[in-house]
Amino acid sequence: MIEYAVFFFFAAIAVIFAFVVILHRNPVVSALSLVASLFALAVMYVLLEAPFVAALQVIIYAGAIMVLFLFVIMLLNLQKRPEEPTRPVQQFVGYLGSAAFGIGLIYYLSKYAVMELPTEPFVADARTVGIRLFDAYLFPFEMVSILLLAAIVGALILSGRAVGERAEIGAEVTK
């Protein structure tokens, strides 16, 4: 019974803060609401018997990725420039289309996705996940490290100074 109460409470938090994310004009408020929504989703992961993934969700998403977002918002000084509404027709079509998509998806899920729960419990702790990760998924795991390296290099090149400017700085340093 308490399980259901927790589910509904945190589901409501996740959905309400997701609404704030997409509706608020100030990107700082959006980012902080997204953090709250991700925390509520971490509670969902605990309810799904995956506590390790819940911990990772809090550390990686709410900790690392959202800090990156907030840093960029502060760096670009975006909190003082709210976006002005233009193109009302396209925006209306966007709301309408996504509402139709959502209603269709929820209708389909509530009608056809009725499943019986398995009887024995399923425990996905760090040990079982780690053994499987370094056993069957070793090659994709190593590929992810190369992907992250490529992301680091790409981010440095994209956000750094222009190439000519960098060469000038290099010349000054070597003098």
């Binding site: 993934v53 670009l76 976006e83 709301y95 079982t128 992907l147 956000s159």
Partner: protein
Amino acid sequence: MIPTQWFLILSAILFTLGVCGVLTRKNGITIFMSIELMVNAVNLTFLAYARQFHQLHGLIFVFFVMAIAAAEAAVGLAIFISLFHHRETIDVDEANLMRW
């Protein structure tokens, strides 16, 4: 235990909100946050099905999705910083350099 279907419906609601944000907002960073919302909705679906079918594959996919989301956020935000240096805005309507 809570039925799997309810988690799927919650995930559908969050995914729809993410789609709505991508389609209606113009601020590039808010669009990025909507994409993160969609990624998290899909993660929730993966975990719900992992519990339903007693498979660890869903859990491991969640790790890969998290790693890819981190890489995507890093590169995407770098693109927006670069755009801001060139155009003084991150409005995606203004980023029309490659439009024919």
